[in-house]
């Protein structure tokens, strides 16, 4: 199972992305589990909202951070996220 580049990405139904004020970080919540996210993972997951494909997320983040060449890092994180079931894809 690997990322399909022309399909939009959304968070899986059993997962919830949430900002934690006490810890000043985003966390991914699911049944009896909690993943504390670093800043780059959180930036990517925030755009997995069912309206963006890989190329859209790359463009949004490259614009936001005024940089280029993020595609490989973003794709490799999204593949891990897909493998772990945090995200899904649909046409």
């Amino acid at each position: 199972m690997s990322l399909i580049t022309d399909q939009v990405i959304h968070l899986s139904a059993t997962y919830r992305l949430q900002w934690e004020e006490a810890q000043q970080m985003f966390v991914l919540l699911y049944p009896e589990g909690l993943i504390e996210l670093n800043q780059s993972s959180a930036e990517i997951l925030q755009h997995c909202d069912g309206s963006n494909k890989l190329s859209d997320i790359v463009q949004i983040l490259e614009n936001k951070f005024a940089t280029t060449g993020l595609e490989n890092d973003i794709a490799s994180f999204l593949n891990v996220a897909l493998e772990n079931g945090w995200i899904n894809q649909s046409a």
Partner: protein
């Protein structure tokens, strides 16, 4: 004897044991043997205070447990309150006496997830272990949980009397539509410790069960996540209990006692603080009980000089106490522990035990255990 110097990490996980009352009588229950002597329960307002203070400190995963949390009349109100605070709310239940109206009501209140337990894959064994006729009803409830869109964890505690059903248990989980399956080998605390000789599986049973679990983990990949919790008596190294004492988990018992681990009330002279007397902030940061095993100042050999001490933190202190009489000994599950023979002898003794009756967890049996 406070351990660490730097400020402790905030609690992330709050386990709210709402009540010790339970319609089931499972002989592997981790509740204290003398639970029936603990009659006081926190009020709804007490729980709301605990929930608010814990959330402010950083707790975000919340488990409503017990006993059977459905027994509490204010469960929906507490779920509603917790949801508004931003918790991810988990209900850990036997499913007994749950009906569709309650499932809908809890959903409306914001409940995120339900973990339902079954005791076996056959009615006869399930109802025997539960001490209550419940199998068919639990299966109906599990289907209703999925019907109403909850993620569902199906939990089956494994032991000598049901572990041979592994394949049927997993098939049942698929049939019921579980998203996650927790196949947890019994951990020997509370009633399980008392019934250890009757519950301990053999090595042959474990090898066979683990192979089946692995096979299903592969075939169910992407559909149902299977967690197989190994029995630590058969491991050479201890578990990293509670992710480290006072680092992540906070348990509040029905009477308001705050515990760094849900078994910690069995540790003598530990002075676990009560939420009726202290704020969660004071309990987490300042109490003797929560600081006791933080860091590694408390460690004796062989833990003190062990290169793995940051990996397992010395293992489980409650287990060290139960098996060696001293909670600051290394968890004897570790084969480097000079007391490791207490574990191998327990396995040996259980293998030679002629089948004798289980002691079921109920008020009558509990009254026989004076605190």
């Amino acid at each position: 004897m406070a351990g660490s110097i730097k400020a402790p990490s905030p609690p992330r996980w709050l386990l709210a044991e709402l009540t010790y009352a339970c319609p089931l009588q499972c002989p592997y229950c981790s509740n204290p043997l003398d639970y029936s002597n603990i009659e006081e329960e926190l009020s709804t307002d007490d729980w709301k205070r605990v929930l608010k203070q814990s959330r402010e400190m950083g707790a975000v995963q919340l488990g409503f447990s017990g006993g059977e949390p459905l027994v509490r009349k204010d469960l929906v109100e507490l779920v509603d309150y917790s949801h508004a605070l931003g918790y991810y709310t988990n209900l850990i239940t036997s499913g007994y006496n749950m009906d569709e109206a309650k499932i809908i009501e809890l959903k409306k209140a914001g409940l995120d997830h339900i973990q339902i337990s079954l005791q076996a894959s056959s009615q006869e064994l399930n109802d025997f272990i539960a001490g209550t006729e419940s199998f068919e009803h639990k299966k109906v409830v599990a289907k209703l949980i999925k019907k109403h869109g909850y993620p569902m964890v199906l939990c089956v505690v494994l032991h000598r009397q049901n572990i041979h059903q592994m394949k049927d248990i997993l098939e049942m989980a698929i049939e019921l539509g579980a998203d996650f399956v927790e196949l947890a080998n019994t951990q020997y605390y509370g009633w399980a410790h008392h019934n250890r000789d009757q519950l301990m599986p053999t090595q042959e049973q474990l090898t066979s069960a683990e192979a089946i679990a692995n096979e299903y983990q592969v075939s169910q990949k992407g559909k149902m996540k299977i967690y197989y919790v190994v029995p630590d008596y058969y491991e050479g190294r201890p578990k990293a209990c509670m992710n480290g004492w006072g680092t992540t988990f906070l348990t509040i018992a029905p009477d308001g006692l705050a515990l760094p681990c849900h078994s910690a009330r069995l540790l003598p002279n530990f002075d676990c603080p009560n939420v009726n007397d202290y704020s969660i902030n004071d309990i987490w940061n300042k109490s003797k009980a929560f600081n006791y095993f933080r860091g590694d100042d408390w460690m004796k050999e062989p833990c003190r000089s062990c290169p793995e001490k940051d990996k397992d933190f010395g293992g489980c202190h409650c287990q060290a106490f139960l098996l060696t009489g001293d909670a600051s000994n290394a968890d004897p599950v570790c084969d480097l522990s000079p007391m490791h023979h207490t574990v191998t002898e327990a396995i040996e003794k259980a293998s030679q035990t002629v089948e004798s009756p289980l002691t079921f967890r109920n008020p009558k049996n509990s009254k026989a255990f004076k605190s």
